[in-house]
């Protein structure tokens, strides 16, 4: 058992080595989207007098955006860090054929990919946090404070695991020739319908949408972070997003490990 743990740790060490080597790229792909977003919506818009408001409560749009953009970074990074390399490994690089020969059960190789992806998601959250807090016009500062440390930590960690598990699942079931559709079909709808730019509770006037978006894991990530960072905003009940994030992470991890094993063994 301890030998298998050391193999698992060695695989993680390899991923950390690669991440360190490509850290510049990692930063660019993580930071660019939230940076541009807050620059336009929290700096340019207020400056030119074009308004978005956080709703009738007088809460600024930047406050709404903070948890949402962190959730997007987590989700995007999780999917990208796990699914894209995996698709390459299955199609032309074939590296996976060697990795599954490491002396651990095949599912452990998949689990390591989820853990490594979750670590990258967590790093992404860490790098985006200061940007969304700091980039804004005078007077448009977001009101952010970690009100519930425990809920925040749980929401953050399970958001990262959920995103990485989603990445592993997508990476094992998608046809490598259709990988270019990943962003159009998965990432973009998830992002725009992920309660990133609006709180879920505010969707009541469009009830059908409010119900449909519940299948979107990003909704729970945004709402979980929103509850713990900006509780002034209306948000989903705590039990609901905790159940979805924890239950969803476990269920999707089990499912992805199955599809992974099926894909590498014949």
């Amino acid at each position: 058992m301890s030998v298998q743990l050391s193999t698992f740790a060695a695989m993680l060490a390899r991923d950390v080595r690669v991440l360190r080597r490509n850290f510049g790229q990692f930063l660019v792909r993580t930071i660019m989207q939230p940076l541009m977003f807050v620059f336009v919506f929290a700096y340019v818009f207020p400056k030119i007098g074009q308004g978005f408001r956080g709703g009738s409560t007088g809460i600024s749009f930047t406050t709404v955006l903070v948890p949402g953009l962190i959730a997007v970074a987590i989700n995007f990074q999780g999917i990208q860090a796990v699914a894209l390399p995996l698709v390459q490994e299955f199609s032309f690089s074939k590296e996976i054929e060697d990795r599954v020969l490491a002396p651990v059960p095949v599912w452990a190789v998949g689990l390591e990919k989820i853990v490594a992806g979750a670590i990258q998601s967590l790093l992404a959250a860490g790098t985006v946090f200061p940007i969304v807090l700091l980039v804004h016009a005078h007077g448009a500062a977001p009101t952010v404070h970690i009100h519930h440390v425990l809920i925040f930590a749980i929401a953050l960690i399970f958001s990262c695991l959920l995103a990485a598990a989603l990445g592993l699942f997508i990476g094992t079931v998608i046809d490598p020739r259709k990988i270019t559709l990943l962003f159009a079909v998965v990432v973009i709808p998830l992002t725009f319908l992920g309660c990133v730019y609006y709180p879920w509770a505010k969707l009541t006037p469009i009830l059908w949408l409010k119900i449909i978006v519940l299948v979107n894991p990003l909704v729970y990530m945004s709402e979980g972070l929103r509850t713990s960072l900006t509780p002034e905003l209306p948000h989903m009940p705590v039990w609901a997003f905790l159940l979805a994030l924890i239950g969803g992470s476990l269920a999707l991890t089990l499912l992805a490990l199955r599809t992974f094993s099926r894909r590498v063994l014949s």
Partner: protein, 324 residues
């Protein structure tokens, strides 16, 4: 201890019992059918056969990435189905495709491989250095693997498979698609490893490669073992010193009985327009054959004579031309 309880059976590095793999699908495909093999410690063993014979599927089952449909297989005495992780610890695999880690340098490929297999940091560093020297890759230690040529990449794959000192080294079609010089270099490396006592199982569809390298070969076709033995033994089963192939225009059926009657001829086979004659004393056989063909009104397009090879063994077993 009994073998079914803990998945350990004593004895040979590789042993299979009625090993079978069937791929389900619209049309069921029996890739490997009731395979019984035993490879001894330190042996250089070859699985030889055309594409689709079941070689890669067999190696896949022995290296745990293909799940057997029936029968049993033991590597280093360990049941591949029951204790796959333990088997993986004891084997080194050089697969057909380049599976090197492209995000790492040459040296890191060896170092992290060692770490995956529980080798300590220090020992993994030393082992990586030693293997790079041994495989003449030391100069390229800092290169990223995508900068390597095909031959160097393959050498690195073999070095990587040896980092954790495996009981058995598996090589799946290592020379397919590489240039002749690289192939000869690879043969030299494998011969050295064999001389050091490494147990090696190699699959190949090149008959001459198996003939040169392997102590014993199993000739596979359509998932079944057609013949098993040393290359010399297998060639001896033909009972002929020379094989003469005559290609004629027209139906060679009449030539068959004439040829059988020639002195020194052991057997005759027809393969399309080719008459293949196995002769124990070849003097005068070719001349007589050509004369017989002429008297039957069959123009001779081509005539060739050569000592028997594994290819001829395959031909005499299957009755058809060997397709690589």
């Amino acid at each position: 201890m009994n073998s079914s309880g803990n998945g350990i059976a004593p004895g040979a590095p590789i042993r299979t019992e009625q090993l079978r793999k069937v791929y389900a699908g619209r049309k069921e495909l029996v890739a490997v059918d009731s395979l019984d093999l035993e490879v001894a410690g330190g042996e250089f063993f070859g699985l030889l056969g055309p594409n689709g014979a079941g070689k890669s599927t067999t190696i896949g089952m022995l290296t745990t990435t293909v799940v057997p449909s029936g029968g049993r297989a033991f590597v280093a005495g360990i049941d591949v189905r029951k204790r796959a992780s333990a088997v993986k610890r004891r084997i080194g695999v050089v697969s057909q495709a380049n599976t090197l880690d492209r995000s790492l340098t040459v040296w890191e490929n060896l170092y992290y491989h060692g770490r995956f297999f529980g080798v300590s940091r220090r020992a993994a560093r030393q082992r990586a250095d030693v293997l790079l020297q041994q495989f003449s890759l030391a100069e390229r230690h800092a290169a990223m693997v995508f900068e390597l040529s095909g031959g160097l990449a393959q050498r690195l794959m073999i070095a990587r498979a040896l980092v954790h000192r495996p009981d058995v080294l598996f090589l799946d079609e290592p020379t397919s698609g590489i240039d002749p010089q690289t192939r000869i270099n690879l043969w030299r490396i494998l011969e050295e490893l064999h001389a050091e006592g490494q147990t090696i199982l190699l699959t190949t569809h090149y008959m001459e490669e198996a003939d040169r390298l392997c102590e014993r070969v199993a000739i596979l076709d359509e998932g079944k073992v057609l013949a098993l033995g040393s290359p010399t033994e297998l060639k001896r089963t033909l009972g002929a010193d020379t094989v003469i192939a005559l290609t004629v225009d027209g139906d060679p059926e009449n030539l068959r009985s004439r040829a059988t009657a020639i002195r020194g001829v052991r057997s005759v086979e027809l393969d399309g327009p080719i008459v293949r004659v196995f002769a124990s004393s070849p003097e005068g056989v070719l001349a007589q054959l050509v004369a017989d063909a002429a008297s039957l009104g069959l123009p001779v397009r081509d005539a060739a004579s050569h000592p028997p090879s594994l290819e001829t063994v395959f031909l005499s077993l299957t009755g058809r031309e060997y397709r690589e």
